[in-house]
Symmetry: C2
Subunit: 307 residues, 2 copies
C-alpha cells in the first residue's frame, strides 16, 4: 500500500499506539513515525525495540511537522496533552485520539485545537489486557471496528483520509454520535469491566475460601473475569470517571435485573431461570455471526497447551 | 496405556460424557463403553457418530455388568437416574457423577446406591459453552482439575482406581469436602455465570441501544460475557437451584462490593478505583502461574482469524 500520512506522531506509546506503529509499518502507511511517552522508561524501551523512527522527549517536539497526531494516552490525560501540543500543531494537520470515551475527550481536547487543524475523535474496538510499549502487535485491529465520532462541520476530506488509514490497518470504520457511542460502550465494555473487577475483588476478600483455591480451581467464568480485570488500572479509572452517567445507568439496570434472578433462585423458580438463560443464547449467536468473536470452544484455547 | 475399567456406562451423552468417551478411547482405558441418553434424537446421533461401542435405549440396560457408571446428566436429573439404575448395578461397581454441584447430588443419589456399590462423587473443572453429543473432544480434561468429594468411609481402592482413570485422561485430581467444593465453585464459576447471564440480559432489554449495535460493536468484556451466557440453560438452571445458598451468599457480597465501586464512580473517587483495579491484577497473575489459563493476549484468539 502507499503512504497516507507523511509524518505520524504518536503521543503515548502503549498497546494502542504500539499496535498502530506496527500496523502502519507493515503496510508502509506512514512516511515517518514519531513517538513520545511521558516517562523516560517507556521512551527508552521504545527506542530499544525501534518502535518508531524517532522518539522525542517532549510531545511538542513530536508533533512538529506531523500531518497526523494520535493521542493514545488515558482518557483523563487527553486535555493536558492537547494543551501542551496545541501551539506546535502544523496547519492542516489532523488530530485524532483513541480514547475509550468520546464526549469527555471532545470536551477536554476540542477547545485546545487551533483554527485550521482537524480534530476527528476515534475509538478502536480492539484491545487486550496487556499494556505498555512492548504489548502492541500489527494485527490487533484486523477485522475489528474503529468508531469515529466526527464533530458537526468536520472536514469530509480529512475524515476520509483518516478512515483510509484505519481501513489500511485492517479495521472496519463506522461513524457515530459521541453520546451514543458512550452509551453503547457502557453496555458492551465499561459496565462488564466494572462487574468483572468487582467479582474478582469479592473472591479476593473471601476468607473462607483461600486465595490459593480460587486461583487453583479457577473455572470458566471466573477465569475470564480475571482476564478482563487484569486490564490497566489507570485506563479503566479514567474510563469510569469520564463515562460516569452512562456507566451508572447501565449498572443500575444490571442490579435490578440481578435482583430478579437472585429472587428466582431463592424462590426456586426454575422456569424463570431457564427462560432467561435461553434468551441470552441468541445474542451470542448474533455476535459470532457478526464476526466479533470465534465459535471455537473456550475461545480456541489450545486444550492442554502450556500457558 | 492399559484398560482400567472393563465396561464403562455413560448415562447422559453430552459434552462431558462425550469428551470422556473420546479420551478413554484415545488411550484405551475402557474395555467397552456403553452409552445412554434420554432422548432418541441424542441416542441416534451417538450411534451415527460411533460415540460409544453400544448405545442402549434404557439406563438400566446400559449399567448392567458395568464396573464404572458415570452419571453425566444435569444436576437436577441425578436422583431420578440413580433410582432408575440402582436395581441393575453390578456388585462391586463404582458409580461416579460429573455434576457441577456436589452436596445436592450426594443427597439425591446417595440413598439409592445399594450396599456393595461404591459411590464416589466428582466434578471435572473443564467445559465449554457447547453441549450435546457432538460437542465432546478428547483433550477437554487435559491439565484441568477434576475434584472428587468421596464420602466418609469411601473405599480407598475404588477411589484410587477412579483417580487413575481421571489421571489417564490427562486431568489432575484433588479431593475436597462437598460443602467446601460448592462454596469454592460458587465463587469461581456459579456466581460469575449468573452475572454474565444478567449483563447479557440487560443489553437485550436496552431499547435505546439497538440489539444490532450491541452485537456489532461487542467489545472485550461483553463479548466474553456472551460466551459464558451461551452455556446450556438446563444445566445452569439446575446448578443455581441446587447450589442456592452458596450462590446467594456470593451474590450478596458481590452486590455490596459493586455498590462501593458504583459510589466511587458517582463521587469521582479515582484513587479508590485505581487501588481496587490494581489489586485484581495480582489474582490474574496467580491464575496464569497455576496453569489454569494462558497468558496469550485476548485468549490467543488468532487476531484477524475468520470466526
Ligand atoms: N487497551 C485497550 O484495550 C484499549 C482499547 C481501545 C482504546 N483504548 C484507549 O487507548 C488509550 C491508550 O490505551 P493503551 O491501552 O494504549 O494504554 P497503555 O498501554 O497503558 O499506554 C498508555 C500510554 O500513555 C502514556 N501516558 C499516560 N499518561 C500520560 C500523560 N499524562 N502524558 C503523556 N503520556 C501519558 C503512557 O506513558 P508511560 O508509559 O510513560 O506512563 C503510555 O505510553 C486510552 O485512552 C484507552 O482508553 C484502550
Ligand atoms: N458443560 C460444562 O461446562 C460442565 C463442566 C463440568 C461439569 N458439568 C456437569 O456435567 C453434567 C452434564 O453436563 P454436559 O455439559 O455434558 O451436558 P449436555 O451436553 O447438555 O448433556 C446432557 C446429557 O444429559 C442427558 N439428560 C438430560 N436429562 C436427562 C434425564 N432426566 N435422564 C437421562 N439423561 C438426561 C441429555 O440427554 P438428551 O440429549 O437426550 O436430552 C444429554 O445427553 C451436568 O451435571 C453438568 O453440571 C458440565
Amino acid at each position: 500500500m502507499s503512504v497516507i500520512y507523511n509524518r505520524v506522531a504518536l503521543i503515548g506509546l502503549g498497546l494502542i499506539a504500539g499496535s498502530m506503529a506496527h500496523a502502519m509499518r507493515e503496510s508502509g502507511l506512514a512516511g515517518e513515525i514519531i513517538g513520545h511517552a511521558r516517562s523516560e522508561a517507556t521512551r527508552d524501551i521504545a527506542r530499544e525495540i525501534g518502535l518508531c523512527d524517532r522518539i522525542c522527549d517532549s510531545a511538542a517536539e513530536a508533533v512538529a511537522g506531523a500531518d497526523l497526531v494520535v493521542l493514545a494516552v488515558p482518557v483523563g490525560a487527553m486535555g493536558q496533552v492537547a494543551a501542551e501540543i496545541a501551539p506546535h500543531l502544523a496547519p492542516g494537520a489532523t488530530v485524532t485520539d483513541v480514547g475509550s470515551v468520546k464526549q469527555a475527550v471532545i470536551d477536554a481536547v476540542g477547545p485546545h485545537i487551533p483554527e485550521g487543524v482537524h480534530f476527528i475523535p476515534g475509538h478502536p474496538l480492539a484491545g487486550t489486557e496487556h499494556s505498555g510499549p512492548r504489548s502492541g502487535f500489527a494485527s490487533l485491529f484486523r477485522n475489528r471496528w474503529w468508531l469515529l465520532t466526527p464533530l458537526p462541520g468536520a472536514d469530509p476530506q480529512a475524515t476520509d483520509r483518516l478512515s483510509g488509514l484505519i481501513a489500511a490497518m485492517g479495521a472496519k470504520t463506522d461513524r457515530m454520535e459521541p453520546g451514543h457511542h458512550d452509551l453503547v460502550l457502557a453496555v458492551t465494555s465499561h459496565a462488564p469491566h466494572l462487574i468483572a473487577y468487582t467479582m474478582v475483588g469479592v473472591a479476593d476478600h473471601l476468607r473462607r475460601v483461600t486465595d490459593e483455591e480460587v486461583i487453583q480451581y479457577s473455572a470458566a467464568g471466573f477465569r475470564d473475569f480475571t482476564r478482563i480485570a487484569a486490564s490497566d488500572p489507570t485506563m479503566w479509572r479514567d474510563v469510569f470517571l469520564h463515562n460516569r452517567e452512562a456507566t451508572l445507568d447501565i449498572l443500575g439496570r444490571f442490579t435490578e435485573e440481578l435482583f430478579v434472578l437472585q429472587r428466582a433462585i431463592r424462590m426456586g423458580d426454575g422456569d424463570q431461570l431457564f427462560d432467561y438463560f435461553s434468551r441470552t443464547r441468541a445474542i451470542r449467536r448474533g455476535i459470532i455471526e457478526a464476526g466479533q468473536d470465534t465459535e471455537a470452544p473456550d475461545f480456541g484455547r489450545t486444550p492442554g497447551a502450556k500457558p
